[in-house]
């Protein structure tokens, strides 16, 4: 029976609770210079990474140990299960790790929220990193974080299936027509000529080859509904309809690499991570990596990377930047590349990498003309919807898809959301 006394008691309880919680929660320090820095003595840094496997974890831990020795600080490397969620929670709780991987799709959200410490100006040799990736990790005209590594898309070719179809190395497609012809020839029985996924992160390469892209160079405008993009998607649609190209889920594979390894696909479009996956899951499959065929506007591919973020709220920013600079040094990048198969993000290290790994030559070549990922705040949802739409590209009008991408994109970007 709720009486006035009870209501008053309840209100009192609630007030006490609110006071207790707000009292306990740490203050967010959004001051311009961030929290007071701890520069004295040995510092303990927390590093959060989303690892691709044991090899990468071991490589990062080893490099961190080397830095510990050199700097006298200590580093605690934590492995994230779901880094977007964990970082989101850490920022909301105001207890972020000092340094961490930032997914390119989350970069703009974090940078806009002021969670990333823009340390680009403290890296004297920033110019040595791939210009395209630097552009992707620039926010508000400032280079915010350094690309951890790089990978580009190449055309993987199953050499056995290739020979069986009566093709030779000279037939590696140089342009769209040849790609279509080769895919037609290779499609037989259970084998599909080209298998990829219904993502702009793959099909976007065709858009770029046709001279289009989702945004303009500075990522300030959405340029989805261009005739170039429509041309690219029309080409993809044609191949999808002919059956010589399929999406991975249509051939019952979790991703295109699986279809490729299982011999369901004679060609696929994937990045450097394919090498590691093939070595682990399908070591007996022989394959070559060729450059992606050129479109009407020449060669193009897509580049991917994560960056090493430093938390704006860290009390060890100087040490964290130093750690990141160490981890992205030429030597460490090359060691990491050997362990993970991902390419260095330093242009100079890339040359050494190419000499050491001639089988990855096509991927290395791609970084000269690659397009970096879209890093516009709030664009995730829009691009996810575009990917969903691309799944039904075979039955839909490419122009309508692009128009809806344009509308949704302008909505989000316009809102500054």
């Amino acid at each position: 029976m709720p009486t006035r006394t009870n209501a008053a008691t309840a209100a009192l309880c609630a007030a006490v609770l609110v006071a207790a919680v707000t009292g306990c929660s740490s203050g967010f320090d959004k001051a311009k210079d961030g929290p007071a820095q701890d520069d004295k003595g040995a510092q303990n840094l927390k590093v959060l990474i989303a690892t691709s496997g044991n090899a990468e974890t071991a490589a990062v831990e080893k490099a961190a140990k080397a830095w510990e020795k050199k700097s006298g600080n200590t580093v605690e490397v934590q492995i994230a299960k779901d880094i977007n969620q964990q970082l989101g929670q850490a920022f909301a709780g105001n207890r972020p790790p000092d340094a961490f991987y930032v997914n390119s799709d989350q970069f703009a959200n974090y940078a806009k929220g002021g969670s990333l410490y823009a340390y680009g100006d403290q890296v004297p040799d920033a110019e040595a990193f791939s210009a395209e990736l630097r552009q992707s990790f620039t926010y508000d005209g400032k280079l915010v974080c350094l690309p951890k590594d790089s990978s580009t898309l190449g055309l993987a070719v199953n050499t056995d299936l290739w020979k069986k179809a009566g093709l030779t190395e000279a037939d590696y497609p140089e342009n769209w027509e040849e790609l279509e012809k080769a895919a037609d020839k290779l499609t037989k029985g259970d084998v599909t000529g080209l298998v990829t996924s219904n993502e702009y992160q793959r099909l976007g390469a065709f858009m770029k080859q046709a001279g289009g892209w989702v945004t303009d160079k500075k990522q300030t405008k959405i340029t989805a509904d261009s005739p170039q993009n429509a041309k690219a998607l029309a080409f993809v649609k044609k191949m999808l309809r002919s059956g010589s190209m399929k999406y991975a889920n249509q051939v019952d594979a979790g991703w295109a690499g699986e279809a490729f390894g299982k011999g369901k696909a004679a060609m696929t479009i994937e990045g450097n991570w394919l090498a590691g996956a093939m070595k682990q899951d399908f070591p007996d499959v022989k394959y070559d990596i060729a450059e992606l065929p050129a479109g009407p506007k020449g060669r193009a591919t897509l580049a991917f990377s994560n960056c090493w973020g430093v938390a704006a709220n860290s009390t060890h920013r100087k040490a964290a930047v130093d750690l990141v600079r160490f981890l992205t040094s030429q030597k460490e990048q090359l060691t990491a590349a050997d362990a993970t198969g991902l390419m260095p993000s330093r242009t100079s290290a890339l040359k050494t990498y190419a000499q050491k790994h001639p089988e990855s030559a096509a991927w290395v070549a791609g970084s000269a003309y690659a397009q970096g990922p879209v890093t516009v705040a709030g664009s995730n949802k829009v691009l996810a919807q575009f990917n969903t739409d691309l799944a039904s590209l075979a039955t839909r009008d490419p122009k309508a898809l692009l128009a809806s991408l344009q509308r949704n994109g302008e909505n989000k970007v316009g809102k500054g959301n």
Binding site: C13, F28, D105, N109, K381, R407
Partner: protein, 370 residues
């Protein structure tokens, strides 16, 4: 929360004692009462009430999760988040409408199916003459104690294009679909024989057409083939739990009641509909309510099996709320989705309570007795 929803109609309270002498005594009791429950009140308040209030506040903000939501850093936008989801034309509303559509079909199919299956199983294993009852009960209950993540993963393999289910279908000459890649609505698949066009993935409707940014044809397409497998999974895993609840209630029905009915010469059908089911009414309400709440909040199966794929047809409001927060850094919208979901569950539960209220002679008798 469910506890007071399923509370039986309150008995009449004993009349308060009017003597002034006892009042002070009562007052002291009240104070002690508060003292004794204060640990629980504190825990509930801290971990339930307060977070709900904070989430309600967040749903009114444009908050990116990277500042203190209780300072001016997070912009107060009033009902904008709700407006974006419900009235304003755009991607947010289309996605939300799609998720509502998906979940509505999920609830409409899952809740009746799991309740009916659970009741049937309970009646079967309640038969005293059945041999191996213990074994059967364990078997039926087993899916419920298995982790939903593990079950989802097994289902992923079973329903692959070349998985066990399709192989079994091929024995009887049916070519099964590629379950998790098939975004066609099952209603549309069934109707396509009548000359309807093949389905396309849900996209934005032309302005002024459809409802909440989703074309009518999309609303009416039914659950997708992929969603249907989620429904099968939910029915299979939850019916065991509900069977147990029904079983407990069945064993609570006085034996004399059934014997008396048997003496009156009812057949089995009449026994079920006029004796057993009425006796199960409160439990039926419990099972339906629990089912309704859990199906509207379906998340883990979606997270493991589809993440909204294919064609957004396994997108649910709970999952959309999660992605709004953690993928799109739009926690305000995520919280708003959660509150709309809460409103839906409350309204539907109230409706259910009204629909399952006690009617007929028994109520009359009680009224007359007052």
């Amino acid at each position: 929360m469910t506890a007071d929803v399923i509370e039986r109609p309150p008995k009449r309270r004993a009349p308060r004692s009017p003597e002034p002498g006892t009042r002070n005594l009562r007052r002291g009791e009240g104070l002690w009462g508060w003292l004794f429950v204060s640990p629980m009140v504190t825990v509930l308040g801290l971990f339930l009430l307060l977070p709900i209030l904070m989430a309600a506040w967040v749903s009114l903000l444009d908050w990116d999760g990277q500042s203190n939501p209780f300072t001016a850093d997070a912009r107060f936008v009033g009902l904008d988040n709700y407006r974006n989801l419900l009235t304003e034309d755009g991607l947010d509303r289309t996605l939300f409408a799609t998720s509502l559509r998906n979940n509505l079909y999920y609830v409409l199919l899952t809740v009746p199916l799991q309740t009916a299956l659970a009741l049937t199983l309970a009646i079967v294993v309640n038969q005293r003459l059945l041999r191996g009852r213990g074994l059967l009960r364990t078997t039926f209950f087993f899916p419920s104690v298995t982790s939903s993540i593990a079950v989802s993963t097994v289902f992923l393999f079973l329903f692959q294009g070349s998985g066990a289910i399709n192989r079994m279908l091929s024995w009887i000459g049916v070519q099964g679909p590629n379950w998790f890649a098939d975004s066609r609505g099952v209603l549309r698949v069934l109707l396509s024989g009548l000359g309807l066009v093949d389905s396309v993935a849900p996209g934005a409707a032309a302005p002024g057409e459809g409802f909440m940014g989703l074309a009518w044809s999309e609303w009416l397409a039914g659950p997708s083939v992929a969603m249907s497998t989620l429904i099968v999974l939910a029915v299979w895993t939850t019916s065991g739990t509900f069977m147990l609840i029904f079983l407990a209630a069945l064993q609570d029905i006085p034996r004399e009641l059934e014997e008396a009915a048997a003496l009156d010469g009812v057949n089995r059908r009449q026994m079920l509909f006029h004796v057993i089911l009425p006796a199960l009414r409160p439990v039926l309400f419990l099972v339906l309510t629990l089912g309704l709440i859990s199906t509207w909040q379906v998340f883990d199966q979606v997270y493991v099996m589809g993440q909204g794929e294919p064609g957004n047809t396994t997108l649910t409001p709970a999952f959309l709320s999660y992605t709004s927060g953690f993928e799109d850094a739009d926690y305000g919208q995520g919280a708003a989705i959660a509150f709309i979901l809460l409103a839906i569950v409350l309204v539907l539960t109230a409706f259910q309570r009204w629909a399952l209220r006690e009617r007929g002679p028994r109520t009359e008798v009680r009224r007359a007795g007052r």
